[in-house]
């Protein structure tokens, strides 16, 4: 008796399946198409979809004078070469080495195209980052970089000009104070104008794509 019941159920299930197989197949196809169509959107959740360099410079950024890692005065307007500028501090355990490694990848991608494009590491930690510390620190990355420091007032003025932000974060860490800071990378042309700023979500490939347009 039970056997018959089971057989009957199997038969019913088969009939049900036969009738709906096509519907289910179509539903799966639609789902696939939907997922496929959504893919490009998911790839860059926060990134700037527009990676073209506009002819007009940004209204912020601009000239400043600090001290370079050899102890010489560094005025942006006198340089006549392009830069990738960012703010950080040498005792930063994760984010700054991460940014420098990302820049190393940008330089590897650019190769010869990098020409005289130089990275500028502006320290927001004048108390601990002397020119010597910055020079040794930066020599450990495959990035042509200049470390910049100065009085905290001068640094603060540059931070403000570039709409960056930092906060000394003293919370009894054995490392002394930590510094919370913004993670933008700024692309500056040979005239000293700010042409593009990259967010932390921009990949090395995207940075290289935009930087190449400076030399066109």
């Amino acid at each position: 008796m039970q056997k018959i019941k089971v057989l009957l159920l199997t038969h019913k299930a088969r009939r049900w399946w036969g009738g709906r197989r096509c519907t289910l197949y179509l539903a799966l196809c639609t789902l696939h198409l939907f997922l496929f169509a959504c893919q490009p959107l998911e790839r860059t959740p926060q990134g700037d979809p527009d990676l073209t360099l506009s002819a007009e410079p940004h209204s912020f950024g601009g000239d400043f004078t600090l001290v370079d890692h050899d102890g010489n005065a560094f005025r942006l307007a006198d340089q006549q070469r392009p830069f990738l500028l960012f703010f950080g501090y040498a005792s930063c355990p994760d984010a700054c080495p991460q940014t420098l490694a990302r820049l190393a990848r940008v330089y590897a991608l650019l190769g010869e195209d990098a020409r005289d494009l130089t990275a500028l590491f502006v320290s927001v930690d004048s108390k601990r980052d002397s020119p010597e510390v910055l020079k040794t620190y930066l020599s450990h990355f495959d990035v042509p970089a200049i470390g910049l420091t100065g009085s905290q007032d001068r640094i603060d003025a540059v931070v403000k000009r570039y709409a960056a932000h930092y906060e000394i974060n003293d919370q009894n860490s054995a490392a002394g104070y930590l510094i919370d800071h913004s993670l933008y990378i700024y692309l500056i042309d040979h005239k000293g104008d700010l042409r593009f700023f990259f967010r932390p979500s921009h990949t090395a490939e995207e940075i290289a794509t935009v930087a190449r347009q400076l030399f066109r």
């Binding site: 040498a90 994760d94 991460q98 990302r102 490392a175 930590l178 919370d180 993670l183 967010r199 932390p200």
Partner: protein, 149 residues
């Protein structure tokens, strides 16, 4: 008929598995090479929890004076770091410490850490479990490739 005998046996077996004490496994322990002259760096681990809710409460290594648990959050485009006393690990879940995110900050390194080398990293949990794992020292570019960004 045998099935009726088998079901309680299987259930009993499953019950026994529940009796095994909660266990945490540590995987992928690695340390970022330090950048001289800095005497600090970051270490990362993946913690898998097969037991009830737990928490990472401390870490240590013979090569650093102190290890702290730091959580990192990105608030807009601002990176914020905070020292915490315990990092919760959900029941039957995991906690992943990785470049560009939460990490163990190693402070007061007693020597430079060269890529390819390794060191002992001890982690302690709220349930009393203490475990020492071998953490490999990874170069900065490789660590970046491994990270979130």
């Amino acid at each position: 008929m045998y099935l009726f005998l088998l079901i309680p046996l299987v259930l009993l077996g499953m019950g026994c598995r529940e009796q095994i004490p909660a266990s945490l496994t540590i995987k992928n322990a690695r340390v970022r090479q330090n950048i001289p002259p800095q005497r600090i760096t970051a270490a990362y681990v993946s913690i898998h929890n097969r037991g009830p809710a737990n928490a990472l409460i401390s870490a240590s290594t013979p090569v650093a004076e102190i290890a702290e648990i730091h959580v990192m959050t990105t608030d807009g485009n601002m990176m914020r770091m905070k020292k915490i006393d315990r990092l919760p690990i959900p029941a039957n879940g995991s906690a992943t410490l990785q470049p560009g995110g939460n990490h163990l900050m190693l402070i007061g390194l007693k020597r430079d850490l060269a890529p390819g080398d390794s060191l002992d990293l001890t982690v302690a949990f709220a349930n009393g479990q203490i475990q020492t794992v071998r953490a490999r020292i990874v170069s900065n570019p490789q660590m970046n490739a491994d990270g979130r960004r």
